[in-house]
């Protein structure tokens, strides 16, 4: 069997997305390659979720080209997605991860160990037999993260993973993400929490009204932002 080709870099080329006659997204060019996490920030309705869904291949752009490793229409084999409100399959915690492992045809012998490792990684050791739907919101979010990682992605897309969590739970998710990034998984995370972006990201994309206003390295974005919108966004002014 051929080694799977890489999904990176992820490249947007004059991508537009329309819903009805409203333009939700209009991106001239955006390239995402390996390395430190990329944060997508911006006010509500800026198009962050749409950008991520197109990045995953869940939505097809109305116009323009999206490529993964230079190829179009690549099935989501080497990338994974963590939804803002993940859906737990009606099985145990182990069953949820096992489902993802089975979907990449992991061998039965290897699955049990992987499940245990992943649960430990996301801070749910010993949760194997707990019904997934009976876990708390934070636990479900972390189980969903473990399930995404089970598919062994090189690109992990996360849509506001900490938005509905309390600060302690959000912190533990961030810790896991930092550990994953340290293992070489490329993380793209959307958030409206600048603290999360500052702590995790290597580069930041500011989205406003469906357009990229600024894309710069984290230290530049937070210390000497290039645009007026970035300064105002960080100052807490409403961007309208």
């Amino acid at each position: 069997m051929r080694a799977p080709e890489s999904d990176l870099p992820l490249q947007f080329d004059r991508v537009q997305y329309d819903a009805g006659n409203r333009r939700i997204l209009d991106i001239g060019s955006l390239g995402i390659s390996g390395g430190a996490p990329t944060a997508i920030v911006g006010p509500n309705g800026a198009g962050k979720t749409t950008l991520l869904r197109i990045s995953m291949g869940l939505l097809a752009p109305s116009a323009g080209r999206v490529t993964w490793g230079g190829r179009q229409n690549v099935a989501p084999v080497r990338r994974a997605f963590l939804f803002q409100r993940p859906v737990m399959l009606m099985r145990s915690a182990a069953g949820n991860i096992d489902y993802a492992l089975a979907s990449i045809k992991a061998s039965r012998g290897e699955r049990r160990q992987r499940i245990s490792d992943l649960l430990t990684l996301v801070g749910l050791p010993g949760f194997e037999n707990r019904p997934a739907r009976r876990l708390s919101g934070g636990e479900q979010q972390r189980l969903a993260l473990a399930r995404s990682l089970a598919r062994d992605p090189e690109l992990l897309l996360l849509d506001e993973p900490t938005a509905s969590l309390d600060p302690a739970a959000a912190k533990s998710v961030e810790d896991v993400l930092r550990a994953i990034a340290g293992r070489g998984v490329k993380i793209v995370i959307s958030t409206h929490d600048l603290g999360t972006a500052r702590r995790l990201a290597g580069d930041v994309v500011l989205l406003h009204r469906g357009q990229i206003v600024e894309h710069s390295a984290s230290e530049i974005f937070f210390k000497q932002p290039l645009t007026k919108e970035a300064r105002r966004f960080q100052a807490g002014d409403l961007l309208i």
Partner: protein
Amino acid sequence: MFSSAFWMLVTGDPGLYRIIGLSLYVSLTATLIAAAIGLPLGALLALKEFPGRNVVTIIINAMMGMPPVVVGLMVFLLLSRSGPLGSLGLLFTPRAMIIAQAILIIPIIAALARQTIADIWVQYRDELAAMNIGTAGSIATLLWDGRFSLLTALLAGFGRACAEVGAVIIVGGNIDGFTRMMTTAIALETSKGDLPLAIGLGGVLILIVIAINALAWTIGRTGERLAGAA
């Protein structure tokens, strides 16, 4: 009024037990077959877009109300020695009754499954797409995760199979000791003017259906609780 049939039940009348056994065997087998066809069919209708899907959905919904006699007649003409499948020699056997009941309840199971699966599919769609699960895999996942709700569809199908008389009396022939079931026995006792026995048998039938529903409901609820569904 119920006394004679219940007395037969208590004293273990072999004729009555054979009738009950055959009823359960035929209706449960028919439900099993109809489930094997109706559940995937319902799921397919719920999650696969194809031209004519709405037409198929409407037809299946309409066929939920198909008169058993019509189904019986269709199967009769099919299985009669003078019909296209006559050489199988199935007419007037329990298998003919199973076929008729399965055909009768496939639309019920498919239509109810389609509704249930469509509701789950709304939640699961993106999650499964993100895990690169194909149509067949998605159908299997939805059927499994909807198993407790789908139990209702199976019970509805089983209830209808158990209760109908029009189809099985035509294709089974109501042969004593061979194709006589609860409902056809009730029809026969009614025609013999033995109304107390007919009513008694009806009472026994209702008891059995209630018992099976209670069993399925308990299994469903227990499983649901263990799996942590809402």
